[in-house]
Each structure stands twice: as structure tokens, then as C-alpha cells.
Symmetry: C2
DNA sequence: ATAAACGATAGAGTGAACTCTAGGTCAACG
DNA sequence: CGTTGACCTAGAGTTCACTCTATCGTTTAT
């Protein structure tokens, strides 16, 4: 079973434009062509899913390209590809902690917003009374 | 105690340029001026901390401006400001879940990368044998 | 009194990641 | 045989959030 670009767009949630852009940027070197038209296989979609996941977790396109290029290189895949992914996993774990801290801060600020607000206006009242 | 823009930059980790940019974008309507020079109070830094937190959690600048403007409006603060923050908190909770899902996916992909890689090259071997 | 240090503004430039447009190819259908 | 519809490329345009530059004003120390 193979897929057209619009079917892949449907399945992945990416726009057709974005897929072509990713290809142009070297993220999809594994995609076959038929008369110039891209023909996607099931496993290509697995790779695109990985790309989407890396994007969602903030990996820039040039880093994804590096990873993909390593993975297309027979000898280096287990070494360099896995190394990059493992490093990114740590990064995502840090993002999780940071996001949790931010959530705590937001909760704190929600609790104290009335006070912050009050203090600011008291200060301004003093200021304008001067 | 009051602070200059460079002291605020130090304390918040923002660049001086970014602080001025935020001011220009209407995020810091509460900052006083002395002879045109910005003078920051302690509670202004509390507001800037909130702004940083909202930015880190993906709120765009125009939405932060809307929130701040509501909070500078006496009558609406508890209603609209808290409402926006509460909605954003739900958003951040969803981000946390999504990030956790992405981490799971990355772990899964790390486990299966050797297989994805192998299948891709098998497929290409078949293709080039045709 | 003048130079250094720090502050200000306006506006141009940057980089990332798309998004859109124009113009073209190709296979299938009536 | 022509027209639709889906695909293609090259490249221009857009948005966001800064970042940088040029130029100017104000304190402060020597």
C-alpha cells in the first residue's frame, strides 16, 4: 500500500506545503518518486511521525535533518542516530520539569493576582498623590 | 527600592532589548518614567515574572497584552484576567500531557529505530532489485 | 566642560518555519 | 481531444519575536 502527498497530509495532520517544505529541507530523503510524483510507503509515515514528534518537542529542522541523515547512513545509525535521540529525550524530560514549574507559577500567580493588582494600584495612588 | 532596565534584565534573564520591545508592545503599561527613563518597582518585576512564565508556556504576545490590559482595568481584573489565566492553565495542563505523550513516542521510537531503519533499507533493496 | 556610561527612540534586519502563488506536467474521464 | 484535478518546482511573502543599529539625551566623574 502506498500513499499520495495529500493522503499523508491527512494522516499526519501536516499541510501538503509543509511536507514539501520538509522534503526540500532534506527531512524526507527516503521518499520514492514516480514520474516526479512522491510515493509514500507505510514506513515513510513512521519516519514522518518521528519527525512530527521531534518538531512538537522543539527540535529545529536542521537538527532533524542531521538525525535523518545519520539514520540513512548504514554504518552510523545505532551510534549517532540513537545518541541524538537519547540526548533529545533528556532535553524533553527537562522541558517537562520546566513546564511543571511554570504551571506551579501560574497557579501561584492566579492565587496572588488580586494582591498584585491591589498593590500596583495602591502604589499608583500614592504616586499620583505626590 | 527601584530598578533600572539593566538591573531588571539581570534579574529576569531577559535582554534589555526584549524588555523595551515588550514595553513597546504594551506589555508593561505599569512601568513609571523619570525624565523618560523607565523606573521599575518590585511589583513590576512580579508582573514581568508572570509575563515570562506565560511566554515560556507559549502564550503569544498579543494575548499577554490582552491579559495585562484587563488587569490594568480596575473593574475587570478578577473577572477577565483570572478567566484568561485559568483558561491558559488548562492549556498548559494539556501541553504537559502532550509533552508526556511525545516523550513516550520518543522512547518507543528509540526502541524501534533499528527496526525502522532495517525495514527501510530492505524495502530499498527490493526496489533497486526491480 | 567634556567624555564615559547608561538611558531613550525609530526603524531596519534576522531566522525559523511555514504558506502562498505562478506556471507547468501528467493521467484519466466524457 | 480537451478539460479537470492532483501533482510538481521555484521562489516570493508572511508571521513571530526578537535583535541590532543609528542617533540622540542625561547624569556623573575627572
Amino acid at each position: 500500500m502506498s500513499y499520495t502527498i495529500s493522503q499523508v497530509a491527512q494522516r499526519t495532520g501536516l499541510s501538503i506545503h509543509a511536507i514539501r517544505y520538509y522534503d526540500k529541507e532534506g527531512l524526507l530523503p527516503f521518499v520514492d518518486r514516480h514520474n516526479g510524483t512522491r510515493v509514500f510507503q507505510e514506513q515513510d509515515i513512521d519516519w514522518i511521525d518521528l519527525i512530527c514528534c521531534l518538531k512538537k518537542t522543539g527540535m529545529p529542522i536542521k537538527d532533524i535533518r542531521t538525525l535523518i541523515q545519520h539514520c540513512m547512513d548504514h554504518d552510523a545509525v545505532l551510534d549517532k542516530g540513537l545518541e541524538i535521540l537519547a540526548r533529545h529525550r533528556e532535553n524533553v524530560e527537562e522541558q517537562l520539569k520546566e513546564l511543571q514549574r511554570s504551571l506551579d507559577t501560574i497557579n501561584y500567580k492566579i492565587k496572588h493576582l488580586p494582591r498584585m493588582y491591589k498593590e500596583k494600584f495602591s502604589a499608583e495612588a500614592v504616586g499620583s498623590a505626590n
